[in-house]
């Protein structure tokens, strides 16, 4: 197989396969969660749940002071690489072109050097997060093989993308093919691991906020 065959395989059939698995898996999960519903609450509601629910979806982006005090590293590094990952994924011009071709909608992107710098920071933050996880006895004890798998499938698309952008793997079709393949692995793994939090985190936040809102409590 030549590098070009590899690139065409990853850009064509493998990509279709990956997004099919991703879409089927993720929508099964979400549709099941949403149709399950919640146990009926017979108490008289003290307030509406919708607005507090939506507000909580947003408010949980801010770490609460207690958590920051207890684990500043986790909050700073965690926020850093999550934001970096989303920026690299959604605001890099080739990715916007890909999204436009798949979903039919596009948006403005950031200049390449900015995405490049953010990617470098994100890679370093991810390495720091792994080192921290391995060096902290409690974290290491709590970590399962799945956690390391998730770290790897998150790290690889960023690393291969960085290498492809800087043309550090030659020939380029091989570099780009490896990057696309790693993204496909991410998409395939996503619905069956804790990576589902990319979507379910917002459902959970909404439920939390809505429950508190119904009780008339701020969340």
């Amino acid at each position: 197989m030549t590098p070009m065959d590899f690139l065409l395989l990853t850009k064509g059939p493998l990509f279709s396969l990956a997004i099919a698995i991703f879409a089927i898996g993720m929508l099964i999960r979400l549709a099941e969660i949403l149709t399950l519903g919640r146990a009926h609450n017979y108490a008289t509601p003290r307030g509406n749940g919708v607005i507090p629910g939506l507000r909580t979806v947003y408010r949980r982006f801010n770490p609460d002071p207690g958590t920051f005090k207890r684990a500043p590293f986790d909050v700073i590094v965690g926020t850093l690489w999550h934001v970096g990952f989303v920026v690299a994924l959604l605001l890099f011009i080739p990715h916007v072109e890909l999204i436009k071709s798949t979903f039919g909608i596009g948006w403005p992107a950031l200049p390449n050097p900015i995405v490049d710098a953010i990617t470098a920071i994100t890679l370093l933050a991810l390495v720091a997060a792994l080192v921290h996880r391995l060096r902290q006895p409690v974290k290491r004890f709590l970590s399962t093989p799945e956690d390391y798998l998730i770290w790897a499938v998150t790290f690889l698309p960023l690393l291969t993308g960085y290498l492809a952008y800087h043309r550090l793997i030659n020939p380029y079709p091989l570099a780009l093919g490896l990057h696309i393949l790693s993204a496909e692995i991410f998409l395939i793994v996503l619905p069956f691991t804790k990576l589902t939090h990319i979507f379910t985190a917002f459902v959970a936040r909404y439920y939390n906020g809505a429950i508190f809102g119904r009780k008339g409590i701020q969340s």
Binding site: T2, P3, M4, D5, L7, L8, K11, G12, P13, F15, S16, I19, A20, I21, F22, A23, I24, G25, M26, L27, I28, R29, L30, A31, E32, I33, L34, T35, L36, G37, I93, P94, H95, E97, L98, S101, T102, F103, G104, A109, L110, P111, N112, P113, I114, R167, P171, Y172, P173, L176
Partner: protein, 365 residues
């Protein structure tokens, strides 16, 4: 006046000055990544080179490669070098026809056994395909290629069709087209890909063969590394715009007028390895990207099937939108069914006051 026997004589007869010839030799040395001190050696070897016999086979092709070589803007040293090889057989260029033409090929093979070069442009129906898709003088392309290369020193596959199958091999490949390197295993094959290839690359390969009697260093696709070693993207004069993130989004917007990067208009320069950006076309006048047109990636294998010419390199080749929609509908349907099933199960359990222990829940996980 007797026909010139060496390249040097021929060039002088054509009025090429010594200075012009040495400039060509220096350029050739540079292109082959040799030190400038090699230029006199190249000049000496080329001057004394005897006219090598070249048999040019045209199979499933459009003659664009021959056009590329013969329609250069003005007679130049590259053309003259091409004139002074002994081109003993070429459908398009030879005067002879019919039996006489085929006889010329057989004669050249016989007289220069083991020493002649075979240049092929065009792909050909493979050994398992219907040979009737392309024949010359009643001989199938496959038989003619195999017979002709039997006494060849080397085979040069000119153009992406000969090198990789090209347009005839594009999906669904109705003629069962294959490339030269798919068939020729016991002779050196040099792929000079491109649709068409840069003329100087062909003459550069011939110059190396005449100078050193050796074949150039090849990349993994069998292409001369001296010409195909770097990507269009890496040598593109618009690269600074890519690095700055300045892109033309349509062919007539302000970015296009300002000469910004053509990535979003489908430029395949990042994956394409060729010499266009450095050697340019039409005597160094311009090249596609300079003319405001995205690189098609024509020197890479299967470029016809590598996605739309005007779609960015990152865009998938299939129909991801349709796949996503179908898979989404299927996933949502299965998810709703699973959710409703669990819901009715839990209602049933509540109705009959089913009990569950912590241990049972643990086992379910």
């Amino acid at each position: 006046m007797a026909a010139p026997t060496t390249l040097g004589e021929s060039l002088r007869q054509h009025g090429v000055s010594r200075r012009g010839f040495l400039k060509f030799c220096a350029a050739t040395a540079t292109m082959m990544a040799l030190p400038p001190s090699m230029a006199p050696a190249i000049a000496k070897a080329l001057e004394q080179a005897r006219r090598p016999s070249v048999i040019w086979l045209s199979f499933q092709e459009c003659t664009g490669c021959t056009e590329s070589l013969t329609r250069s803007s003005s007679p130049n040293v590259e053309n003259l070098i091409f004139d002074v090889i002994s081109l003993d057989y070429h459908h398009t260029l030879q005067a002879a026809a019919g039996d006489a033409a085929e006889h010329a090929r057989e004669q050249a093979m016989h007289d220069n056994a083991g020493e002649y070069l075979v240049v092929v442009d065009g792909s050909l129906p493979g050994p398992n395909a219907n040979p009737g898709y392309s024949t010359i003088a009643g001989i199938s392309n496959y038989d003619m290629l195999m017979e002709t290369i039997s006494g060849a020193a080397a085979v040069v596959a000119v153009g992406s069709c000969a090198a990789f199958g090209g347009l005839p091999k594009a999906d669904p490949n109705p003629t069962g087209a294959v490339s030269v390197q798919d068939l020729v295993k016991d002779k050196p094959v040099i792929n000079v890909s491109g649709c068409p290839p840069v003329p100087m690359v062909i003459t550069g390969v011939l110059a190396q063969f005449l100078t050193f009697g050796t074949l150039p260093e090849l990349d993994e696709y069998g292409r001369p590394r001296a010409f195909f070693g770097q990507s269009i993207h890496d040598r593109c004069y618009r690269r600074p715009f890519y690095d700055k993130g300045l892109f033309a989004e349509t062919f007539d917007d302000e970015g296009a007028k300002a000469g910004w990067c053509l990535y979003r208009l489908g430029c395949k320069g990042p994956m394409t390895y060729n010499a266009c950006a450095t050697m340019k076309w039409n005597g160094g006048a311009s090249w596609p990207v300079e003319a405001g047109y995205p690189c098609l990636g024509c020197s890479e294998p299967d470029f016809w099937d590598a996605g739309g010419f005007y779609k960015a390199l990152s865009v998938p080749t299939g129909a991801p939108g349709d796949v996503l929609l179908t898979a989404g509908v299927v996933g949502a349907a299965v998810g709703v069914a699973a959710g409703l099933k669990s819901r009715s199960e839990s209602k049933q359990a509540a109705k009959y006051h089913d009990k569950v222990t912590a241990q049972e829940l643990e086992e379910k996980l």
